[in-house]
Symmetry: C3
Subunit: 159 residues, 3 copies
C-alpha cells in the first residue's frame, strides 16, 4: 500500500489534479447558477418565501399574497438540492480519487461523464424532458461517483 | 507555527490521510444511499414531486393524485438533508484536521466515532427509534466535528 | 502551465493554505451553528417535524398538534440551506484557489470578504433586516466565489 500511495504528494502536481480542479470548478459553477435561476422564477412568478422580499410589490395584505409557493420555483429548488446531494460526494470522493494516482485517461473519462451527466440532469429537470431522461442522467453521475469511491477504497482502505 | 505545519506535504502521504480518505468515502457513500431509499419510498408509497414521474401510473387526472407528499418519503428526505448539513462540515474540517498532523490514534478515534454516529443517526431516523436516540447520535457527530475544528484553528489560525 | 503549478506541493505548506484552513473552518462552524438555532426555535415555538420528537409534550392527539411548521423555524431552515448552497462551492473552489498560488494579500481579501458576507447574510436573514441587506450580502459572497473560480480555471484549465 505504501508503494501505491508513496508518491502522493507529487501526484497533486500533475494533470489528473488539474483535470479534477477544472471539472469540479465547472460543476460547482453550474450548481451556483441555480441560485439566480431561482431568483428569476421567484421574481417573474411573484412567489416569495420571506415577507421582506415582497415590500417592493405592495403594502400589508396586498404584499402577503406573494408569499406563496409556485410549481416552477419549487422545480428549480428541487434541482438545486439534487445538485447538492450529488455534487458534494463528487467533490470529496473525486478529490481522494485524484490523489490515488489513477490513469489520466481513466480519470478524465470519469470527470467528463460526471460533468456531462449533471448538466444533462439540469436540462432534463428544468425543461422538463420526459422520464427517464432525468433518472438516467442522475444514475450516470451516481455510477461514476461509486466507481471513483471503489478505486479510493481499494487503494487506501484503512479502518 | 512553521514548525507544526512544516512537514505538511509529507503528512498527506501517511496513515492519517488514508484513514480520512477511508472514512470520508464511507460517510459520503452512506449519504448517497439516501437517494435510492427516497426513490424506493416514492415508488412504493406512490408519492411524487414531478408530473413527469407519474406518467407511467396513469393519464391526466388519474396521474395527478400521485403528486403528493408522504410522511415516509418526507422522513427520508429530512434524514438526507441532515446528512448534508453534518457531512459537509466533516468533509472540509476533517481534511484540514488530517493535514494538521494529529496523532494517528486520536484521528482514528475521531473518524470512527463520527462515521458510527452518522450510521446510527440514519437508523434512528428511519426506523424510527424513540428519542433521544436520534438527538444523541446527531450530537456525537457534531461534537467530533467541533473537536477537529478546535485542533485546526489551534494549529493554523491565520486571520 | 507546468511552471505555474510546478511548486503546488510546496504551496500547501504556506500562509495562503493556513488562511484557507482558518476561514473555511470559521464559515463551516457558522453553518453548523444553524442546527442548534433550528432546535431552539423548534422547542420554543413547539413546532416539530417528527412524531417521536413530541412525545415529551403529551400523548396521542395532544402531541399531534405540535407536528406543524412555524414561520421562524422555516426561516432558520432556509438560512441553513442557503449556507449549504453557498459554502459548499467556497469549500471546493476555495481549496483549488489556495493551491493555485495566489498572492497572500489577494487570497486573504477573498477569504475575509466571503466570511464577512456570510456572517452578515445570517444576521440579515434571522433578524430579519430589510432588503436589500440579505440580497447584497448573498451577492458579495457569490461574487468572491466566482472570482476564485476564474483564477482556478485560468491557472489549471484541463478539459
Amino acid at each position: 500500500r505504501s508503494g501505491e500511495m508513496a508518491k502522493l504528494t507529487q501526484l497533486i502536481d500533475n494533470e489528473v489534479f488539474w483535470a479534477y480542479a477544472t471539472y469540479t470548478t465547472i460543476v460547482l459553477l453550474k450548481m451556483m447558477l441555480m441560485s439566480p435561476v431561482t431568483a428569476y422564477f421567484r421574481i417573474t412568478r411573484k412567489a416569495f418565501a420571506n415577507p421582506e422580499d415582497t415590500t417592493s410589490l405592495g403594502k400589508g395584505e396586498s404584499a402577503k399574497k406573494f408569499l406563496r409557493t409556485d410549481p416552477d420555483v419549487e422545480r428549480v429548488r428541487r434541482s438545486h438540492l439534487n445538485d447538492l446531494e450529488n455534487i458534494v460526494p463528487f467533490l470529496g470522493i473525486g478529490l481522494l480519487y485524484a490523489l490515488c494516482g489513477p490513469e489520466l485517461s481513466t480519470a478524465l473519462l470519469h470527470f467528463r461523464i460526471f460533468a456531462g451527466a449533471r448538466i444533462l440532469h439540469t436540462f432534463a429537470y428544468l425543461i422538463p424532458l420526459p422520464q427517464p431522461s432525468r433518472g438516467l442522467s442522475w444514475a450516470v453521475g451516481y455510477a461514476v461517483t461509486i466507481s471513483m469511491a471503489y478505486k479510493v477504497l481499494k487503494t487506501v482502505l484503512y479502518l
